[in-house]
């Protein structure tokens, strides 16, 4: 029997509340599909940092590298500055494991209240391919003239050809694989004088290798507006680290799935484990109440199984989510208009499988 060895990092806040639901669903799916699953839980989190001064142990990355895959909850604590907590865990994992693809679905699901008028499930259904290792997210820069009137901060974005080309190729390949030969690029070459014209030129160049794939590009400002005005138009949208980040929260915002959408951090070469997480954060405002929606975490688990080569298991989970959401009597957490708790919704999905 095939078996998969998963590193589980519940993290902080609601991360620790939604994770068990995903694990239960995974276990049930494994039984049905006939594969094994081994979970090893790591308590790396802001809580750990407050105790030890480290988000993960010194050999954390090498521990993780033993696993087939990583399932992450959410990391973040109000008392720990984001740029410490994230650059001590999430971002090093993405970078050192060369998870240079951040793949996120934007999909209108049944039974989820959509903020847009006159849309029904199926109307909105596309993918965001985000560069995940370089670009605007950078440690290059700093504060100068501190404490003087000439004070300021600099921040340098770096777009390597290596990093740019590989994400663009992934986007084109993905559009091909989906059978939806259309890639939209997010740019801002009219304002970001160096980086974005470079991005555009690479997009044009790589596109030549995919003559059957239709391409278009929009400046990020108008593209964001188009996500609201005409979200039906998109198939695969590719963006830099920052633009992809913005678009992949905005997309779920538009489809009402901000608490529901997953995020796959993928190393396509499979040299390193990939990491799967919900789009939502640790949500300190509702943590401890067990009312968080577990679907983001469960959908992330579905994407993980797909990546691990178990598409049947992935579909089973996804179908269960959609079937439960579509049921009028389904338990619904407050974010999707109900009063049910995390466990109830999780249990309903598990039972559906």
């Amino acid at each position: 029997m095939k078996s998969y060895d998963i590193a589980v990092i519940p993290g902080d806040g609601i991360g620790t509340e939604v994770m068990p639901e995903a694990l239960h669903v995974l276990e049930r799916t494994a039984e049905l599909c006939g594969f094994g699953l081994k979970f090893r839980t790591y308590d790396w989190s802001c809580e750990t940092w407050l105790k030890t001064g480290k988000m993960m142990p010194d050999d954390g990355m090498s521990q993780l590298s033993q696993h087939d895959s990583i399932l992450l909850g959410a990391v973040g604590f109000p008392s720990v500055p984001d740029h410490i907590s994230l650059w001590g865990l999430l971002i090093p994992i993405r970078r050192e494991f060369h998870q240079y693809v951040n793949l996120r679905p934007v999909r209108l699901l049944p039974g989820i209240p959509c903020p847009l008028a006159n849309k029904k499930p199926g109307d909105i259904d596309f993918w965001i391919v985000r560069e995940n290792c370089e670009g605007e997210y950078s440690q290059i820069g700093g504060v100068f003239g501190e404490g003087t009137p000439a004070e300021g901060a600099m921040q340098t974005a770096v777009f390597t050809r290596y990093g740019t080309d590989r994400i663009l190729r992934y986007a084109f390949d993905y559009a091909r694989k989906l059978g939806r030969p259309h890639v939209t690029s997010a740019t801002k070459s009219n304002g970001l004088f160096h980086s974005m014209p470079y991005w555009d030129s690479r997009f044009a160049d790589i596109g030549k290798d995919y003559p059957e794939v239709r391409t278009d590009q929009y400046h990020i400002d108008i593209l964001a507006a188009r996500f609201v005005m005409s979200p039906e138009r998109f198939d695969v949208v590719v963006g830099s680290n920052l633009f992809g980040d913005i678009l992949s929260d905005l997309g779920p915002g538009v489809t009402g799935t901000i608490a529901v959408a997953p995020s796959a951090n993928i190393n396509p070469e499979r040299k390193y484990p990939s990491m799967f997480e919900p789009v939502h954060g640790s949500a300190p405002d509702i943590a401890g109440q067990f009312i968080a929606n577990p679907i983001g975490q469960i959908w992330a688990a579905s994407m993980m199984m797909d990546h691990l080569g178990e598409p049947e298991a992935a579909n089973l989970i996804m179908k269960a989510i959609e079937t439960v959401l579509d049921r009028p009597d389904a338990p619904r957490t407050p974010d999707i208009g109900g009063t049910a708790g995390t466990k109830e919704l999780g249990a309903a999905i598990k039972a559906q499988i």
Copy 2:
């Protein structure tokens, strides 16, 4: 009689089509309110660039500096790279005239189809205060290793204390002036390691001088999603050059007013002329058909009159726009669901005044 001397730059594409409507409306308003207006038109545009290699003459800025104010249409031509056309006209004007505030309303108007469900005029009504002179829009950087596998591009954002503090203060002052003491800051301190933590620290510091103003801050990704999910919540939103740019297209996207919204580039000290323009671009796809919506340009003219110290004139224009839009028989351009042309809608607004 008071008189104002306005530099008029229609620019390219639909810019040249919507501008006359704004001028007619302004003339009518001046008659009624009893002030004079002198227009001087400059043909600076991509068309000029194709002929002369310059977007404006060498002494362009000094010509403009003679005027009380600048009314701009839109600049951009498919055959002229954006980073040439804009860095040759729009961006130098913003910077050399220290128009460090870009002020943009996000407002649900009557009679404009709104992409969001269950919203009515009045529900969404807030202001975006965007930094307009520095930040991510920078010429610092370039391409390295060109033509080699180690090729790439770098782009450096610069946030000076001088530039950051003045825009933050403007936002707080503006919230005070509106009587809506609530300022929301756009950040991304969890990804942009240097610039955004600096921005946040200045926001916290300046906020201390406005103890009665409530503050909050969101990362740009979730803030974009909130523009869709809960746009009622905002009063004044302050953002860097790039974040403000994105939010101030997204906001009008959410309210259906992308072809209608204005943009004021303000030098608050009034040492230099300020510049008023519609949010929309030159729209080469519909240029020449005279079907562009002139309201963005007319609303920009209203903001101009307000800035010039004629609030009565500004209100008169704004009221006329709203009254016409609210009329079931009003001429409507295609973008707002009708078949009327630019001139008809413009004439209706002028007649309403």
